[in-house]
Symmetry: C2
Subunit: 299 residues, 2 copies
Amino acid sequence: MRKISNKEEVEQFLNEIDIFLLDCDGVLWRGDEVIPDIIDTLKLLRSRNKRIFFVTNNASKSRKSYQKKFSSLGIDCDYHEILNSSFAAAWYLQDIGFKKRVYVIGQDGITEELREVGIESYGGSEDVNKPFDYATFAKNFKAPEDVGAVVIGIDDKFNNYKLATGTHLLRTDPNILFVATNTDACLPYSGGFDFPGAGAFVTSLATASGRQPDMICGKPSQLLLNYVVNKFDLKDRSRVCMVGDRTDTDMLMGNQGNTHTLLVLTGVAKEKDLDTLTDKDQIPKTLIASFGDLYSLTK
Amino acid sequence: MRKISNKEEVEQFLNEIDIFLLDCDGVLWRGDEVIPDIIDTLKLLRSRNKRIFFVTNNASKSRKSYQKKFSSLGIDCDYHEILNSSFAAAWYLQDIGFKKRVYVIGQDGITEELREVGIESYGGSEDVNKPFDYATFAKNFKAPEDVGAVVIGIDDKFNNYKLATGTHLLRTDPNILFVATNTDACLPYSGGFDFPGAGAFVTSLATASGRQPDMICGKPSQLLLNYVVNKFDLKDRSRVCMVGDRTDTDMLMGNQGNTHTLLVLTGVAKEKDLDTLTDKDQIPKTLIASFGDLYSLTK
């Protein structure tokens, strides 16, 4: 594992990489605060004609909505450069030629991305205020014939109506796909809070339905990496670099996908954590204190 | 494994057993329908001076509320004879000398049983209609100093407010106990429905908090069996019989607790399932088609 700590090392690194896949939280910002020198680093990369993609497991928003967060923090990007896990779920279904309807347990990001690829869905925010009791549910429940998948992600309005609906769909028809946007256990929040992440809802549905997800779309799955590789017909994955603050998702996805991997220390992982890693696929190829150093070290 | 199929076998069996621990759903009733000859069987056992306990993982009600279900189905019992998993959770905390307050994710059964043993709780049905968003929650959340446990069970009004509260309590203080009433994946309901069971909520909290339950109180845990054994100072557990319709909870608890075990075929398990059981602790010592046969075969 090499470390980047001076201008020459930055230049050598930039010469090796054409495409940057950037995790967002902990790499570009923390909460609502942009990490120092990030905006100048992104400008530097664009001035060197590097391709940039923002790869995040956040499925609460669509790419178009997420773009507004980027703008509000002063980061310019095209929404096509954002690859989040609600987009990943929609792209996955489109890629397998899925033609049916989707039941959504999650937020608007999933519904909107499905619509973008022409897949009809129901549930989601429509079911936020649905009352629930066993007798009424059992009396009224009927699985629509055209449902082919349950897509589930982080849901700040999770309830029993949605859980029971997903459970019954998956239990009554083994052909209905169980698709998870991601399985992050928690959602880091400002003030040291960790809120329940998508994984908390996915495991609930998995337990109740007696099934495991047929597909988990976000990191560390190879889905989004394969999307980029296919889109640009990349022969040499070593010229792609996955940049992230977590070894168990970001580094794992990159290393298993044979890309370069760059760990930053502005988020979850600390340098001392690397000494105790037993899974070699989680060890970054390169280490840098902050992604902003790519700019600050070259000033 | 022996089978009971005539009057002599019934008499021999009755001579061997002093205390009956009876699972309810699938043994005594299915949905709201009592299984034939059950009421006469219970009368027969009482006329022979057998002790009877009703051992169920249902934690939605307290024993006193649950007794009303028994009465409505024509089954007389004292509420002390009902050992359900909300009682088990309360008894467990009392038994370890717990003196703090409990946060409840679940229904009134838990709150009421805790009150019976003098343990104060909050949450539960008070938190059913609490709105939830990340910012407000993070701003207002403060773990009360006197909280010592989160008790979670089946919850037909589960929501993010309760999940986030439990998650933060368990994450911020490793001394706060994580107690699950039970971990049944689903709640069988009439019409072939399987609703999400306690396990669906417990796994959600386990994922979000990054912790596993410190105690799971219901079957197949030995907690309720030990309660009975200690209460009656039983030296000879072979004179206790666990009766149930499930091999993975009822038979497992009994066999691991060195009691006699009787499987009935009026619920979940079918006779052919026994051929494929790999866990010998799940194999019943004795088999009978229906618990009602104890009466009908002796007529």
